[in-house]
């Protein structure tokens, strides 16, 4: 599996990472090198191996349906560049 220049631009856009035209070719090379490295896994026969979902066999932990959190709007918005009345403020996004 390898990626072309168009796929590199597309992935960058989906990840919202600005990639200049000059960086596309080097990134394409790096990504293909990584993919080639991962592809070595394809040589292992896993036909009869169950997918591993955790290192030690365990069931998913569950929580009871009780309210244990909240009432900390000040803290929640503390890192936001801009806030008003505990709302996050972002550049206008509207359909």
């Amino acid at each position: 599996m390898s990626v072309d220049a168009q796929t590199v631009r597309r992935i960058a856009h989906l990840a919202r990472i600005a990639v200049s035209e000059a960086d596309v070719a080097p990134l394409q090379g790096e990504l293909n090198a990584i993919l080639a490295f991962v592809e070595q896994l394809g040589t292992v026969d896993v036909a009869n191996v169950e997918p591993m979902t955790s290192v030690t066999p365990m069931a998913m932990k569950k929580r009871r349906d009780v309210v244990t959190d909240g009432g900390r709007a000040e803290e929640v918005v503390a890192n936001a560049p801009e806030t008003e009345d505990h709302f996050f403020l972002v550049p206008k996004v509207v359909e």
């Binding site: 009780v66 008003e84 709302f87 359909e95």
Partner: protein
């Protein structure tokens, strides 16, 4: 999917008739105290960002822990949809960027949902019913809410809804008209409310629909579909489908083709329009969420939940028909809300089921509708209405007086039996008293007596006069019989 085409459901185009094909994704907010993966409250209407934990705000290092009640609610819903429950399901990350999605992904279920195929029986207004296939139901997180009208250059983001559990219920493309679509959502809402797994409050956004619409010539393969996002009332669902189907027909009949896209319905303008920003977002790059193990439980857990389920609307309706002798239509009206059905049963128990149904549907529901009240707010209790039905059954009051009595109990309250006694509303069954009234009317109207012998329908006039003379308290059957005898009418 390829049920016989019903010509009545087709839409007339300029060139020929078109069949509309609809499938729906319903997002139903799970009824729970806390969120799907955090301990913050789900309560509606809190101050901005007050019901938010650091998990919901996607602070670094926070880990999701699943709410066991949300899992139980999804299983209950699956059982209510007669669906396959998957003992093992997997949570995936659905990746996209939006300001009200701080994680940058929604935790959802993709390949392995908690609930598989099921079905919903939907009654239509013409008495027909259809079975709508359910493809799957999965659990996922809701996003936050953006307000765009507070400021000219900025959007305000509130994460109170972020992380609240949703059930996405996906139907098969089994619906063939806007009426069927509306009936389907109505029925699904009823089932959810019976189960207590979603309150179905569309005004608060507890139930929202994405509607997939395509059109085709009857018998042809499926056309290209458009998805209308986030329609939030049953009426708008109907309007959006009609509008979108006609838009597609016009394009195809003009020689064009439909682009598969996401659209938005604008009820004010009565049109759907393209949401171009959603186009590329369809590449969600799902992958299993590494923060969450697979969700597993055993059949005994499912069986335990099944035992706790209430009687569901289809079963209740069938029982009302067999136990109380109701028509399918009346039974359907009564079971539409669990509270209405419970009220009716309390009135009908030990009484004439049909009479009880008439009073509940015609008088009580009619009056509640008029005042814009729900069954929970009725001033006339089931016990009071039951007494009114008893008083008619015992012949103590006539049906006409009963309506006056209902009005008094509605506005003033009190025991119907005591009201009847205190206000002298008892029906006059004393033959002597009725006869005296009848004799007087006959004596005063000799011309009408002659006419009535020619034209027996005039009997109604005499009945009316007698009722008037007795203040409406004469037993109508006794009056009728007596008048017929005296006037010599058969």
């Amino acid at each position: 999917m390829n049920a016989p085409v019903n010509p009545k459901k087709l839409i007339k185009g300029g060139l020929h008739d078109w069949e509309v094909v609809i499938g729906m994704e319903i997002h139903a907010q799970v009824t729970s105290r806390s969120k799907l993966f955090s301990g913050a409250s789900t309560a509606f209407g809190a101050e901005p960002n007050d019901n938010v934990s650091l998990v919901d705000a996607a602070m670094p290092g926070m880990l999701p822990v699943i709410n066991e009640e949300c899992v139980a609610q999804a299983v209950r819903t699956g059982l209510g949809l007669k669906a396959k429950i998957n003992l093992r399901s997997v949570f995936d990350r659905k990746n996209y960027f939006y300001p009200d999605l701080p994680q940058g992904y929604q935790i959802s279920q993709y390949k392995d949902p908690i609930v598989g195929e099921g079905e919903v029986l939907v009654d239509l207004s013409d008495g027909e019913s259809i079975t709508v296939g359910i493809e799957r139901l999965h659990l996922e997180q809701d996003a936050g809410k953006s307000l765009h009208d507070q400021n000219p250059t900025q959007s305000f983001v509130d994460l109170n809804r972020s992380g609240v559990a949703l059930m996405e219920i996906v139907s098969r493309p089994d619906l063939r008209s806007s009426e069927e679509a509306r009936a389907y959502v109505t029925k699904l809402r009823t089932i959810l409310r019976y189960l207590g797994t979603c309150d179905g409050d569309m005004e608060k956004g507890s139930l929202r629909a994405d509607v997939n619409v395509s059109v085709r010539k009857p018998g042809n393969p499926l056309g290209t579909r458009c998805e209308i996002k986030n329609v939030n009332s049953i009426r708008f669902i109907g309007q959006a489908i009609e509008t979108e189907a006609r838009r597609q027909i016009a394009i195809i009949e003009d020689g064009g083709t439909i682009d598969q896209e996401t659209r938005l319905f604008d009820p004010g303008k009565g049109e759907t329009r393209s949401m171009r920003s959603k186009e590329e977002a369809h590449d969600y790059r799902y992958f299993p969420d590494p923060d969450l193990l697979p969700l597993e439980f055993d059949q005994a857990y499912v069986d335990g939940l099944a035992e706790g389920l209430p009687e569901l609307p289809d079963a209740k309706k069938a029982r009302f028909v067999s136990e109380f002798g109701l028509s399918a239509y009346d039974a359907g009206v009564l079971v539409a809300e669990r509270a209405s059905a419970d009220y009716y049963e309390a009135v009908a128990r030990g009484r004439d089921g049909k009479a009880a149904a008439n009073w509940v549907i015609n008088e009580l529901f009619g009056r509640l509708n008029k005042e814009g009240k729900g069954i929970e707010e009725t001033p006339v209790s089931a016990d009071q209405l039951g007494q009114i039905v008893d008083l008619i059954g015992e012949g103590v009051i006539s049906g006409k007086i009963a309506k006056d009595l209902f009005e008094i109990v509605w506005t003033e309250g009190g025991s119907p039996r005591e009201v009847v006694a205190a206000r002298g509303m008892k029906q006059v069954t004393d033959a002597g008293a009725i006869e005296a009234a009848v004799d007087e009317i006959i004596a005063r109207n000799p011309d009408k007596v002659v006419q009535a012998r020619e034209k027996p329908t005039l009997l109604g006039w005499f009945v009316g006069q007698t009722m008037k003379a007795t203040g409406g308290k004469a037993n109508p059957a006794a009056v009728n019989a007596l008048l017929k005898a005296k006037l010599g009418i058969e």
